[in-house]
């Protein structure tokens, strides 16, 4: 197992945001996590990548403990993260965004005396092509459309070349066509990387969920299974329907 999570819990001001008894991920697996709002999906990824500190529990990545490490150390272990809200460097060009992300030595002196190499340029170009960013290479990242920003962030994660990618709602705010393209891309990436994807869009989930899907509800793991199993599970349906009803009632 690449990732092993046991008894992980965190709470904010008395509310249990996450209380996960067990979660594991194989190498080169693409796992989709679904669940209603506030189920603790993003919090789970936050804990893995070091943004949020867990109250208790352990996370083993390649057999090494992740909890308690800094974001940088975790990134160096080979975990990359794409956020729900696209997080890029708006004041830099797309090219510079990609250049900063690319895997290389990242200490001060290497940065100060960095010289671009042909191999690196090729790599950046290859990833940019894959994500249709070549035409906007020298545009400020802040001036990109929402979808382009999403792709840029994915490109940033890809260039980091992590073992495990944590992708939070990649299809949010995208057109159907873009969504499909994103799905295809994720599937391709999963050949070389382990990926955890959080998604709401069931159509998209159906496209990419070739293996297991995990359902989180109120911070707990409700069930785990193939997409078909999950789709037909009564508890999952209740949970989603109940949420819809609740929303209808409040409106």
């Amino acid at each position: 197992m690449l990732l092993n999570v046991n008894n992980l819990s965190v709470s904010f001001g008395g509310v249990h945001a996450l209380n996960l008894d067990h979660f594991s991920l194989r190498d080169k697996e693409l796992r989709v996590i679904i669940g209603p709002n506030g189920a603790g999906k993003s919090t789970f990824l936050d804990i893995i990548c070091g943004k949020t500190k867990a109250d208790k529990g352990e996370i083993l990545f390649n057999g090494k403990a992740v909890t308690g490490k800094t974001e940088v150390a975790i990134a160096e272990m080979g975990i990359g993260r794409k956020f729900q809200k696209p997080s890029v460097f708006p004041g830099l060009t797309v090219h510079d965004n990609l250049l900063l992300a690319a895997k290389m030595k990242k200490d001060i002196f290497s940065s100060l005396f960095f010289k671009p190499t042909a191999a690196l340029a090729d790599r950046i170009h290859a990833v940019a092509t894959k994500l249709s960013l070549t035409t906007v290479m020298y545009k400020m990242a802040g001036d990109l459309s929402h979808g382009q920003k999403q792709w840029l962030e994915i490109a940033i994660v890809v260039l980091q070349d992590p073992t495990l990618m944590l992708i939070d709602e990649p299809a949010a705010g995208m057109s159907d066509e873009e969504t499909e393209k994103t799905g295809a891309l994720l599937l391709e990436l999963s050949k070389a990387h382990s990926i955890i994807v959080i998604e709401h869009d069931m159509k998209f989930v159906e496209q990419i969920a070739r293996e297991l899907v995990t359902v989180l509800v109120r911070g707990k793991r409700l069930m785990e299974g193939t997409f078909a199993e999950v789709k037909n599970d009564q508890r999952v349906i209740d949970c989603y329907l109940g949420r819809t009803n609740a929303q209808l009632e409040t409106l």
């Binding site: 990548c49 943004k51 800094t70 974001e71 940088v72 990134a75 160096e76 990359g80 993260r81 956020f83 997080s87 890029v88 460097f89 708006p90 004041g91 830099l92 510079d96 965004n97 250049l99 900063l100 992300a101 990242k106 200490d107 001060i108 940065s111 100060l112 005396f113 960095f114 940033i156 980091q160």
Partner: protein, 359 residues
């Protein structure tokens, strides 16, 4: 939109300050006083470059640059004062003799040698910046918190330097220097020399900062400014980068201070009070932050205005500066350089880009 680097700006700048002004002095059109005054502005501009690096590029508003500036000044001042004291045959600088101090305090000892002085002038601010930065950045203090804590740090140091017991001359500071490395500070040629050194240092500092900001290191800094979390998930140690640039900025401020001292002839804690530290940031804000040219021009222009206005409009110069600050922040958030760029664009493209002036 990046403006292409037009070498003409540099030619113009060097022509005015390295040729026109000294030539004006030689021919008697411009007094040595004016030369000295501009030499001092250059020192401010050097410090302003540091502020631009830390604030404009990295997004950390540090209000303690004035303190680092003073550290540089005080170091050189201590050396000059000891030299002068030795020349007159006394054992201690006169203010210490009045304070009934018998022996030279330990921390004054190294300043008897010029080499040590230079080293300490750079080392002390760097170490303080490192220590303060380490504590502040490690605990992820940023934004407003950073600004206020550094301002409070400056305030505390100001209070400390005001005290006579600190043995740095209290409110009177250090003054009345005679020679630097044997050159008479009051002679016109030395003043011109210091002016040229300051100008050269400014150019060197500019070049250095230009190289830094255009390297990948500079891009990491801007990335920190834009999204600190993103860059740390990309495996960059943000604390290291911040610390490095904080130290560089402190060094630039100290260099400015070191050159400032012999041209002004006095350093007092007044150089690092709340007013002084905010004003230093204002130079960069007015010139245009995140733009090295802006920092230099801002520092030169604001100080020039200050000198002129205090003579011409003693009652209303504060209004002029105050309004300038408010209007710049409100309407030209990229400062003079942003304004100049948008005007230039208007001329070159015939259409006014409103994106430059958000309302």
């Amino acid at each position: 939109m990046k403006t292409k680097n037009n070498p003409l700006y540099y030619i113009l700048f060097i022509a005015i300050f390295a040729i026109l002004l000294p030539a004006g002095y030689m021919s008697g059109l411009i007094s040595v006083n004016t030369i000295s005054v501009w030499g001092r502005y250059f020192c401010f501009a050097i410090a302003a470059l540091g502020i631009d690096l830390i604030w404009g590029y990295t997004g950390i508003l540090s209000m303690c640059q004035a303190f680092f500036f003073c550290l540089g000044s005080y170091g050189i001042a201590m050396h000059l004062l000891l030299k002068k004291t030795m020349a007159t045959g006394a054992v201690l600088p006169d203010f210490m003799a009045w304070n009934k101090i018998e022996t030279l305090p330990l921390f004054w000892q190294p300043f008897q040698s010029f080499g040590w002085t230079l080293l300490l002038c750079l080392l002390v601010p760097a170490l303080i910046a490192f220590a303060a930065g380490f504590v502040l950045f490690r605990s992820r203090i940023k934004g407003v918190y950073m600004a206020i804590i550094t301002q409070a740090l400056t305030l505390a140091m100001w209070l400390l330097f005001l005290r006579n017991e600190t043995n740095l001359g209290g409110t009177n500071g250090l003054t009345d220097f005679k020679t630097l490395l044997g050159y008479d500070l009051s002679s016109s040629s030395v003043k011109l020399g210091l002016y040229m050194i300051s100008f050269t240092m400014l150019c060197a500092a500019y070049f250095g900062c230009y190289r830094i900001t255009h390297s990948k290191f500079g891009k990491v800094l801007q990335a920190i400014r834009d999204s600190e979390s993103r860059i740390s998930y990309a495996a960059y140690k943000v604390v290291d980068y911040k610390l490095a640039i904080f130290v560089v900025a402190a060094l630039l401020a100290a260099v400015g201070g070191m050159l400032y001292l012999p041209q002004t002839g006095i350093i007092t804690p007044g150089r690092m009070d709340v007013k002084a530290s905010v004003e230093m940031v204002m130079w960069v804000a007015l010139g245009g932050r995140g733009n090295l040219k802006g920092a230099v021009i801002g520092a030169l222009l604001v100080n020039f205005l200050y000198s002129v206005c205090t003579s011409l409009f003693p009652d209303s110069w504060l209004f002029i500066l105050g309004f300038l600050f408010v209007i710049t922040v409100l309407y030209f958030d990229k400062g003079f350089m942003g304004l100049a760029n948008s005007i230039k664009q208007r001329f070159s493209t015939g259409s006014f880009k409103t994106s430059q002036t958000p309302l």
